[in-house]
């Protein structure tokens, strides 16, 4: 986990194309205010919390963009949204990338089995376990290149809205790159094992060769997408890779019900997060156009988080012993 988080950190410095797409590709920067960015983020967090509580594997990346688009629409109308940019650089790549990962992983594992199929399985598995250290590391690196940049894009958008960064001479400040890289690597270090457990066991139980093929395909797709500036859902891409590696070996080995849930959550995320973003923006502006709205909403969110934690702690307490 430490190596994965370190590679996440390094990956964030490889390219800045995705950050530029997020900051400039989807909404008119003139329509973006700090309240719009705040509402977009809270909308995305709200949708993520709901999907997590129901166990639906949704994409935080799509929630982030959906929330932002929703709050911009609420603030400045549909004309402030770059529909062509959303279709061309978000929706179409989001549909194609998991399919490519599926095909790449499936094709890879079929060829791999052809090459090593007649060898003793023990040494083959040991070999691919070693290979997985490299392919897993590459996947962590690719995750850093794509996902950390989304955070950079949103922070830079807030800086543009506040006047700290020029929209015409757009550049992601170094401190934004370093802080986003640190945040994603800390997130992987503290909670990454939950995602690994879900993806590694719930869709299909894999052998090391399948894991190698799925990780390699996922990393290749994410790195290729980052190089052309496509903000992908890394969860969807690696899920596509896992399903491809599983289906190529035995179609029925994949838990297609879980795969279906991923697709449902994926389709719902953009519009649902947009609705949440718009609602949060409307709520924030009830308190005026200044910082009043965001402060009130932040206090409400903190109260909700504190209540949730208090309930969890109360539920975890053992029942008192009565005689």
């Amino acid at each position: 986990m430490a190596i994965a988080s370190l590679l996440n950190f390094v990956g964030a410095f490889i390219s800045l194309k995705v950050a530029t797409t997020i900051a400039k590709g989807f909404v008119d920067t003139d329509a973006v205010t700090t309240t719009v960015v705040f509402a977009g983020l809270v909308g995305a967090i709200g949708w993520n919390v709901i999907t997590w509580s129901y166990g639906l594997p949704s994409s935080s990346s799509h929630a982030l963009i959906g929330g932002l688009v929703g709050s911009v629409v609420a603030a400045a109308g549909w004309s402030a949204v770059n529909g062509a940019g959303i279709v061309g650089t978000l929706i179409v790549p989001a549909i194609i990338a998991p399919i490519v990962a599926f095909a790449a992983a499936g094709g890879s594992i079929l060829l791999v089995y052809r090459i090593v199929g007649r060898l003793r399985p023990g040494p083959v598995s040991r070999g691919f376990r070693l290979g997985q250290l490299a392919s897993g590391g590459l996947l962590a690196l690719s995750h850093g290149t794509n996902d950390a940049q989304k955070t950079m894009g949103v922070i830079t958008l807030a800086l543009v809205a506040h006047g700290n960064v020029s929209a015409s001479n757009f550049q992601v400040p170094d401190w934004v790159v370093i802080s986003s890289a640190s945040a994603i690597s800390l997130g992987t270090f503290t909670g990454g094992w939950r995602i690994i457990k879900t993806l590694g066991t719930r869709i299909i139980s894999m052998d090391p060769a399948q894991g190698f093929a799925a990780q390699g395909a996922g990393a290749a797709v994410i790195l290729a997408a980052s190089s052309v500036g496509y903000p992908l859902s890394t969860t969807h891409v690696i899920s596509g890779g896992i399903m491809g590696a599983g289906a190529a070996k035995r179609f029925s080995a994949v838990r297609w019900g879980v795969a279906g849930n991923i697709v449902v959550a994926w389709v719902l995320t953009l519009p649902a997060a947009a609705v949440f973003g718009a609602l949060v923006y409307a709520l924030a502006t009830l308190f005026g156009n200044g910082v009043g709205g965001p402060i009130v909403i932040t206090l409400l969110l903190l109260a909700a988080v504190a209540t949730t934690f208090a309930r969890r702690i109360a539920q975890a307490q053992p029942a008192p012993i009565t005689s």
């Binding site: 490889i14 390219s15 279709v87 061309g88 790549p93 594992i109 060829l111 083959v124 290729a224 190089s227």
Partner: protein, 80 residues
Amino acid sequence: MIRAAIDTNALLKMVYSSILASVTIAVVFATAILGAIRASEMRRAHRSVATVAYATVAVVGVLFAASVVVYALVLITRKG
């Protein structure tokens, strides 16, 4: 409108480069594993020429897979 919004070149580049890279690395690494296992078997059978040949396949395979990864990262870093 949708067709105009899509950068077909970028999309095709993402598709073919990712498929090519992942399939190449998987095949080369599997060949390296094949080489390593066969080299071990040949060594136990005291067939030294075959041992060296298979060990070379293993080493070249691992080095080639690693160089493909490094080359891809260098390309991305230059363009990023």
